[in-house]
Structures are given as C-alpha cells and as structure tokens.
Symmetry: C2
Subunit: 348 residues, 2 copies
DNA sequence: CTTAGCACTCTCTGATCGAGAGTGCTAATT
DNA sequence: AATTAGCACTCTCGATCAGAGAGTGCTAAG
C-alpha cells in the first residue's frame, strides 16, 4: 500500500501538506473551509472536499466520524515525511547562540550531552533523547591505580574512544602508590590498544596481583562491550505531558513508559544503528507495528559521532502531529554539532 | 494551627489513620459506612460521623462537597506522618534480594545509583530521585595525563571522595607519554589532599605547561564545587503518570516539571541538606507553601553517605495520598544500603 | 456518650434536544 | 472534464433536566 510521489497531483500534495500543518497546529480535524480561508487557496471548498475524498480513498487522511474534518493517517504522515516535508533550517542567530554554548570554555561530554538534550527539547518542543557515545570495538587505552585506604585501590580505566570506567579493588595486601604506579605503567605498555580478545589471548601472568588486576580490566571491558548505548539523557518531558497523546490515562500504554524500559529503548536504537549510516535521520511513525506504546507518537532518531569508532544516538519523541520540518532539522543540527565536537576531541 | 499528639483521642487517631489508609487505596472520599464495614469497627457509622465532624473542625480532614465522604487535608497528612504513621519494614526476603543485587560482583556507584532509583521506585510505586554523592569540601587526590592524539591530552582528575572529572587539553606542543606521566606524578606529590584554596595559594610555576594544567585542575575543582548535587537518577515515572494528581493537564502546573528544573530541585535538596543530618528522613507535603507545582504531591527525602565527606540525596516524589509507611521505610532502607556501600569504598 | 432513623443536599448518570459544523452529492457553470 | 454553488444529511457538542444514590447532619431515644 505504499504511495510514491507520482501518485498524487501537486494540488493534492499541497492539500495534504496543509492538512498536516493545520492539524499539527490545532490538534483538531481540519475542515475544507478552514483550509481555503486560513491559507487563501484560490479554489472552492467543494473542490477541496473532492480532493480530500481522493486522499481519503488513498488512505492518507481520514475522518474521525461523518461530518468531521480530516486528520492525517499514519500513512499520511509517512508520505508527508518522505515526500513533502521541508526542513526549516534554524535561524542563523539561534544556530550561533547554540554553537557558542557548546564551544564555550571547552568542557567535555558531561557538559555537551545534557546541553544537547536541552537544545533538542527546546527546538522541537518534544521529549529529547541523547545517549552517551559508545565504541563498538572496545580497546584498552590506559589504566591508573590509585591507592586509597588500606589495601583498597581505585582503578581508573580509559578505553580507546575515551570512555572511562572506574572500580574499587580490594587487594590482598597494602601496596605503596609507587609500586601501584609501576604496575599500572606496565599494563599501559603491554595492553595499549589491545582488544578484549587480544588481552584474553595473552599468557597468564604468574603474579597473582597482576592476574587480579587484569581480570578486573577485562571485566570492565566486557561490561562496556555489552552496552548497546551509553548513559541516557532526557529532556523536555514537560513539553509533552499536557498533549492529549501523552496524557492518555490508560495505565499501561503511555509512550513515556518506553523511556524507562531500557530493553525497549535498545530495540529502538538498534533498529536505527542497523539501518542508517551517520548522517541519515530515521523517522518512525506510530510505532511501526512494533511498539504499541508509540501508537500516537513519532520518533526521530539519528546517530552522531564517528562511524565504527565512537557514536551515540540522539533524537526526539513527540506526538505524531509534530512539526517534522523543525524537528528533523533540529536533530540534524545537534547531531552535526556533537559529531564535530567528538571529532575534535577523539581519544585514540 | 499545629496539632500534637494529645489533641486527639485515640479513637480519633484510629479514624484518621483509617481515612488516610482508605483514601490512599481508592483515591476516593471515604464514607463513614465504608469505614465500619471494611475495617470492622465496633461502633456505629453515626459515631464515626461525629468524630469526623471533630476532625473536620480541627482541619485534619475535609469534605469535597456536602454529602461526600471525607478526604485528609494537607494538615491531616502532616499529622498522620508526624504522629501516626507506622513504618512497615520490607519483608526480609525482599530486603535480602535487594541487598544481594547491590553487593553482587562489587560494581561501583555507576551501578548502584540507577539500581537504587529502580528499587525505590518499585517499592514506593512513585517517582524516585537519587543524586550522585558529592563532597562538600573538594580536595585533590590524583591526576593522570594521557596522551591521545597530537598535542591533545586527556586529563583525568580524581578528587578526594572519589569523584572523577575529565577534560581534554590542547597543549602547545606534543609531549611524550613519559613526560606527561612525570608531570602528573609531580602534581600528585605536590597537590595531594589540597583544597582549592590551598592550591590557589601556591606560588605560580614558571613553566607555562604546568601553569596550564594547574589552571585546568582548578577549573574542574571549581566546577565541582559549584555543584549542589551530583548527577540525578530518576525512575518510576510510569508509576505515577496515570494517577490523577500527575495527569492533571493544566499545562504549567505538573509536578513533573520540577524534575527538569535543576534550580528548583536544588532548592528542594538544599532544604533537606540544611535541616537534616544523615539518617533523618524529611517529608514535604503539598509543596509546603513554596512549591506550587507540588500542590497535590508529597516528597520524601533523605541524605545518604557520610556526613561532611561524601553524601547525596535520595527520595521519592508521589501523590499526597501515598503509602507513607512503605515509602518512608523504603527510603530509609535504600539510604542505609548506599551509605554502607559508600563507607566501604570511600576514597580518602 | 452512643445510636437508629430520617430528611436533606449534592453529585452522577443518562436522556433529550437544538445548534452548529462539515461533509457528500447533485446539478449547473466554465 | 473540471469546478463550484447549493442543499440535505449526519454526527458531535453543549446545555438542560430528572431521577437515583450516596453520604451527611440532626434529632430524639436508648
């Protein structure tokens, strides 16, 4: 039942666009009269109704009930997004302000990621999601052992890409900071740039302490490897709480549930990881048959970062009737910004 | 208008408790008949009504309208929480399961904090908040400089208490890992356990590189100092979305807004930081005049960690009609658990 | 002090009705 | 053949109303 460009006359496309636009604005069914009055079309409402009829038959719009205006269907939104949407670039002033915020005083990801979420939420007036970037191929970069108290040691592990993992180790006896540093240096030489597999393949050391630390390193690397995405940053919940799509009080079908269900989110992310290269934006409309909770919502997702090295996901979740033009360009813009920042500061 | 224990007869206390309990269960006004039927009181409904009348005059309960049952007032909840609530300890089996989850395979805070949020949310059926622990007196513990690419260097800064900050530095020229390590070691010796003030008081080094790095260290320490709390972990949003108190669609008065407004949250936290030692649980009912958004909600907060060294906040946010007994003991339990874990792994 | 009994008040539900919105169709027009 | 004016038709929405039911407050008796 897939429609393409050529199935519709240009007038039908205009009408569909206007219906989408108006319905996005008002959340109400759109009447033929509204269309000609508010948008100054040079045709009569009867003509519009005829066209609406065709669009209804094509399954792109529908009537909630006899004698109501029209509302875009899922299919209609898909068609709109695929063929009709025009990205509305952010005003240059806004872009500059935002860029400036990111670049000021050269902070790190822990500053950029929440900021990205906040910017996305503001620009799209929806819920934003940003995951910390994550490397697919985990490799050792650096280790540091810091004596803390008694035989307790803080291990700080830096992976290629820049992810940092920490762990407290309880050693069998007390070691001086000097000997811990020596040991760390040894690891730094031996393991630099090595993957989990390569480290596992190494001959086991005779020294039990070395063994213990190497095990801890591998442990942390495994944990990191199992992550589908890094930590999740959310923003803009309040943008969306008052919309009818999200306020739907039917207990177990709130789209916001999804945000707390890591497995589901990972599903969602995986899908985009698999189908898109960095730079492509994916728009999921109405749960696409898979996510019941997203029945009335749309998700716009993209990857950012550096392909095959360090990348994360970012996007927004909003009601299906959202301003796709704005939203898509906001997602693009923020993704590009983050990608640039990551490229500048990549740790390899 | 403060009531204390002795203002009420014990029968009145029972009736108030039952009203609170029943209203918590059903979210409906409670009728005198319901009370004697469902709780098997050995008195007549007329007597209950008389007592209800007194309680109403005392401002502890109210009628939404003539000929409706009674609902506890804010004042009523406060009295209940101060005088009548009984903590219902979690079942021993549950406690064991949870404790086990925390202690298994000795992970770190990055594992415990989300877990704490999740446990709290489950046990209280409300929204849980957990902030990463944070030290009030910032002091240098350890620095590591890791050569990454060209003249770019990753600085990893460990503070006393165990907070880790990272930053990418762009140096003027390329340094070998060895010289970077030497420099880091010098810092580790010179700055160990020093506070911001102490470091600032040191004589400035002649070496521009040393200057740059020391500036970066101070920068990060300042940033950390300015934090009221660490990162925030949330869970259990879906527990609460369907309750009438939260679904209230009046745009700008959703209690959930608060969760995204860091300044407001910090206010809330500060209040508890100031008024309570670790171990004390604070219950805010109905926004306490300060937080309009919390009009129909209650917040239960406590600190965890080690007083004056490393502590964070944790608690829940739920509808005013919540099961305070459960909630308070859940908060206590999780706080104690985290405090123990932090005590075990404190970095000093 | 407690309780049975009863009148009273207020909400809630469902039914009814008219107004209004918006369409679909038909026949006339370009 | 496409467009349009005109009109009948359908459905929703809001207001109004009545009856049932819930729950109370009061009174008078135990």
């Amino acid at each position: 039942m897939k429609r393409n460009m050529t199935d519709l006359t240009s007038r039908q496309k205009i009408i569909l666009s206007l219906i989408v636009h108006e319905h996005t604005r008002t959340a109400q069914p759109v009447a033929s009269k509204t269309l000609i009055e508010d948008y100054g079309l040079q045709i009569s409402s009867a003509t519009v109704r005829n066209e609406m009829n065709t669009l209804t038959e094509l399954g792109l719009i529908r009537q909630p009930h006899t004698s109501a205006g029209r509302v875009p269907t899922e299919e209609g939104y898909r068609f709109f997004v695929s063929n009709l949407v025009q990205q509305t670039a952010l005003p240059i002033a806004t872009r500059n302000t935002i860029t400036h915020q990111f670049y000021q005083s050269r902070r790190g990801l822990d500053h950029w990621l929440p900021l990205a979420a906040s910017v996305l939420a503001n620009q799209s007036q929806a819920v934003s999601l940003v995951t910390a970037p994550h490397s697919e191929k985990i490799a050792f970069k650096h280790i540091e052992l810091i004596s803390t108290r008694g035989s307790q040691v803080l291990m700080v592990l830096v992976l290629v890409g820049g992810e940092i993992r920490q762990q407290i180790l309880a050693l069998d006896e007390v070691y001086s900071q000097e000997s811990l540093s020596r040991m760390a240096n040894q690891f730094n030489q031996d393991l630099e740039n090595k993957s989990v597999r390569q480290i596992e393949a190494l001959e086991a050391s005779a020294d039990p302490l070395t063994q213990q630390i190497q095990a801890a390193i591998l442990d942390q690397m495994h944990l990191t490897e199992e992550l589908v995405t890094g930590e999740l940053f959310l923003d803009g919940l309040s943008n969306v709480l008052s919309t009818p799509e999200f306020a739907s009080t039917n207990q177990d079908h709130s789209p916001l549930r999804l945000l707390e269900e890591r497995p589901m989110l990972n599903d969602l992310f995986s899908r985009t990881v698999l189908t898109e290269d960095i730079g492509g934006v994916q728009v999921l409309i109405g749960g696409e048959g898979t996510w019941q909770d997203l029945r009335d919502c749309a998700v716009i997702l993209t990857r950012y970062g550096i392909q095959d090295q360090l990348s994360g996901m970012l996007g927004i979740l909003g009601p299906m009737r959202m301003s796709y033009g704005n939203a898509i360009s906001a997602v693009h813009f923020v993704a590009d910004l983050l990608s640039d920042l990551i490229t500048d500061t990549l740790i390899d």
